[in-house]
């Protein structure tokens, strides 16, 4: 990880944002639409108005809760070789976005409603691409609507081996999904030790936690399944137009959620994550690849890493629109800012069009961008070996460093990023080699992976059990 990381905010700024968040939680409070949750928070010392369903959090309760939180988040894969560990001081990890409803057809380039076969294709790519460490959901249209989440989870459990970050439509659906996780892991203890799925719940900004989301939070906590809280205050509509105000509110919503989770199930892992969007003031749409988004990525990373000591997540690979050259720039801006800010998890590989669509081609390109970000993240090491005085002296004026052992050794250590999709050849050579555009090269790589990459299947009894659970869910919920 880069040291020192980019400090967009001063230490005093961070403190002010934290205090503002505490003040929001203490004075405005959150609407907690869940009787049992309110009771638990009341018992823990919160001021509760049951009639208005408003919970006001005393600062001491929040501060005390934060002290006891685990500082490491494990995104466990099927096997340990696919684990992604979020920890301050370690290099960052990356996951794909969740919740898109459309898919860009790999062969035709058509933008269309996603199908379960698309998710299978996407899962194979995720499994193969080295810089993608965890996978999110894709909402498919050719399966029962009420259990699409369960079908999606089944596909991701079967077709790839990395950690899955998955929402459930309702707490009922989540029960089936936990059954599926247990089917793969074997026991509750093993699942808790190596949670191969993280669940997702939502806070609706401003300051509202719906009942079913709280049910899901508490249920996941019982099994020690890490839960990401999706907090998306849209700058100018669901939070103040000022970025400081948005940071204070989003942070308050996260701290409130963390406090509830810890009161309900102490030790429940909750990543440090909120993801403000920016309101498009001509349509009301939510944007994720604006310069404000990029600054928020860095600021949230800084709050997590510097003020709270949590490995921070961020939307480093979000973009708006579906034009390749535009999404690339947005992803680069967000990604560099989050990466330099010290972020631990970059989210949204493969996503375009404000996460409405997933593109397999974009995923392959993103894998390359992430590789470049990893190189930037390693920073510039300064020591006797890297200053290379003896080599400079040996080579001397007009000499060449190319054939020096020092050069070869550092080249092998990955000192120079080597692209696979980007073509840095000069125009003449690019033309002799077929004059292929970036998208074409990425498409070819994706096709190659799909043709050659094999994912080990789960054991037969597990596959059978998963199918039985999905059938049971369909029989009950559809």
């Amino acid at each position: 990880m880069i040291k020192p990381y980019l400090r967009l905010l001063s230490g005093d700024d961070l403190k002010k944002i934290h205090e503002a968040s505490l003040s929001i939680l203490e004075n405005t409070g959150m609407l907690i639409d869940h009787q049992e949750a309110r009771n638990m928070l009341q018992e823990a010392g919160a001021n509760v108005d049951h009639e208005k369903k408003i919970v006001k959090f005393p600062p001491e309760l929040v501060e005390e809760t934060l002290k006891n939180m685990d500082r490491t988040i494990l995104h466990a894969g099927r096997d340990p070789e696919y684990d992604a560990v979020l920890k301050i001081g370690e290099d960052f990890c990356t996951r794909t976005a969740g919740g898109a409803t459309s898919y860009i057809d790999l062969k035709t380039g058509d933008y269309r409603r996603a199908k379960i076969s698309d998710l299978e294709e996407f899962a194979t790519l995720v499994d193969a691409l080295p810089n993608v460490n965890a996978v999110g959901t894709l909402h498919c249209g050719d399966i029962p609507e009420q259990t699409a989440d369960i079908h999606c989870l089944q596909t991701l459990l079967e077709k790839q081996r990395k950690n899955i970050v998955h929402n459930a439509f309702t707490v009922k659906n989540l029960e089936y999904m936990i059954e599926m996780m247990l089917a793969v892991r074997g026991t509750k203890e093993k699942l808790k030790e190596r949670p191969l799925v993280h669940t997702i719940i939502a806070v609706l900004s401003p300051l509202y936690m719906p009942e079913d989301d709280i049910d899901q939070l508490i249920l996941a906590g019982k099994y020690g399944i890490p839960t990401g809280v999706v907090i998306m205050p849209s700058v100018g509509s669901a939070s103040p137009i000022t970025l400081a105000g948005t940071l204070a509110q989003g942070n308050a919503e996260l701290l409130g959620s963390i406090t509830l989770a810890q009161v309900a199930n102490p030790g429940h892992p909750i990543p440090y994550f909120f993801e403000p969007t920016v309101t498009e003031m001509k349509s009301g749409d939510s944007l994720m690849g604006t310069p404000e988004s990029a600054m928020l990525c860095a600021a949230i990373a800084q709050l997590g890493i510097e003020f709270y000591g949590f490995p921070p997540n961020g939307i480093g690979l979000m973009s708006d629109g579906a034009i390749c050259e535009q999404t690339l720039f947005q992803k680069a801006c967000n990604g560099v800012m989050q990466c330099l800010g010290g972020g631990s998890l970059l989210i949204a590989a493969g996503a375009i069009d404000s996460v409405l669509a997933i593109s397999p081609i974009q995923l392959v390109i993103d894998d390359e961008i992430i590789g470049m970000l990893h190189r930037i993240s390693r920073g510039i090491e300064v020591n006797d070996d890297t200053l290379a005085l003896d080599i400079i002296d040996k080579v001397g004026p007009r000499g060449s460093f190319l054939a020096q052992a020092h050069t070869v050794l550092h080249l092998r250590e990955g000192d120079l990023f080597n692209p696979h999709i980007f073509d840095w050849n000069k125009r003449d050579k690019w033309i002799t080699r077929g004059a292929k555009g970036l998208e074409q090269r990425a498409r070819e790589k994706a096709m190659d992976i799909l043709k050659n990459h094999k994912v080990d299947p789960l054991p037969d009894n597990v596959l059978k059990e998963l199918r039985a659970i999905v059938k049971k869910a369909n029989d009950t919920l559809v």
Partner: protein
């Protein structure tokens, strides 16, 4: 094949000129190309075998790996250097055994231009491919190129240039070669950042290469 020849090939592949090479941690202190070639000579092995089944066999693997994008220019050069160390030791024996000498290339940066990074790279790559390279240096006048062709009788003349303001010098040299009736004796290759295939054709060059790696292939094609 003998283990010794295999070891020579492997050390060429790894670019380990001698036992001091820091390149492969697992092989630290083990004999490199220098020590192994010395041993092969001492054991009285056939010179042609040492070259073909040892040194060049290793370089062959390096070339293939490079073409497959598995390794990079510095690794090729350092292997070529290791190969050169072995060749140097064998030189006296080559003369004795009457083996055919390698093809010669005269190369230089044209008049008015002092840039030589690319030209040096081409030189090094050609040497790695077993060409004898006479590198005239930078800011070379047409007369010097002509003199050198007459004296060295190379198969290839390589002209390099970075500055657009000196590009016309390449044409001057080519015209002079024709005027001296040397065009059947030597093929002329041009290269450098601003040079394109189109420009090369227009000034009457026999060959052009986009980079140092392609240059080696083109030279081989031209002397066929």
């Amino acid at each position: 094949m003998s283990d010794l020849l295999k070891a020579i090939a492997e050390n060429v592949i790894q670019g380990r000129s001698d036992k001091q090479s820091p390149l492969v941690k697992d092989m630290a202190g083990a004999p490199g190309v220098k020590e192994l070639t010395e041993r092969a000579i001492k054991e009285g092995m056939d010179v042609e075998d040492i070259i073909n089944k040892g040194l060049l066999a290793g370089m062959d693997v390096v070339g293939k790996r490079f073409k497959n994008d598995e390794i990079f220019i510095p690794e090729v050069l350092i292997s070529a250097e290791a190969l050169g160390v072995g060749m140097e030791l064998l030189k006296p024996l080559i003369v004795e055994s009457g083996l055919k000498p390698t093809s010669k290339v005269v190369i230089g940066t044209v008049k008015g231009d002092l840039h030589d990074i690319g030209k040096n790279l081409v030189s090094m790559m050609l040497q790695g491919a077993q060409f004898e390279v006479i590198d005239l240096g930078v800011d070379i006048s047409t007369d010097s190129f002509i003199d050198s062709i007459k004296k060295e009788k190379p198969k290839i003349l390589g002209l390099s240039c970075l500055l657009t303001s000196s590009m016309h010098e390449m044409k001057t040299v080519i015209d002079a070669v024709k005027k001296e009736n040397l065009q059947n004796q030597v093929k002329i290759m041009v290269g450098g950042a601003p040079v394109t295939q189109d420009y090369a054709s227009r000034i009457g060059a026999d060959g052009f290469a986009e980079d140092a790696v392609i240059a080696v292939d083109r030279v081989k094609e031209l002397i066929k």
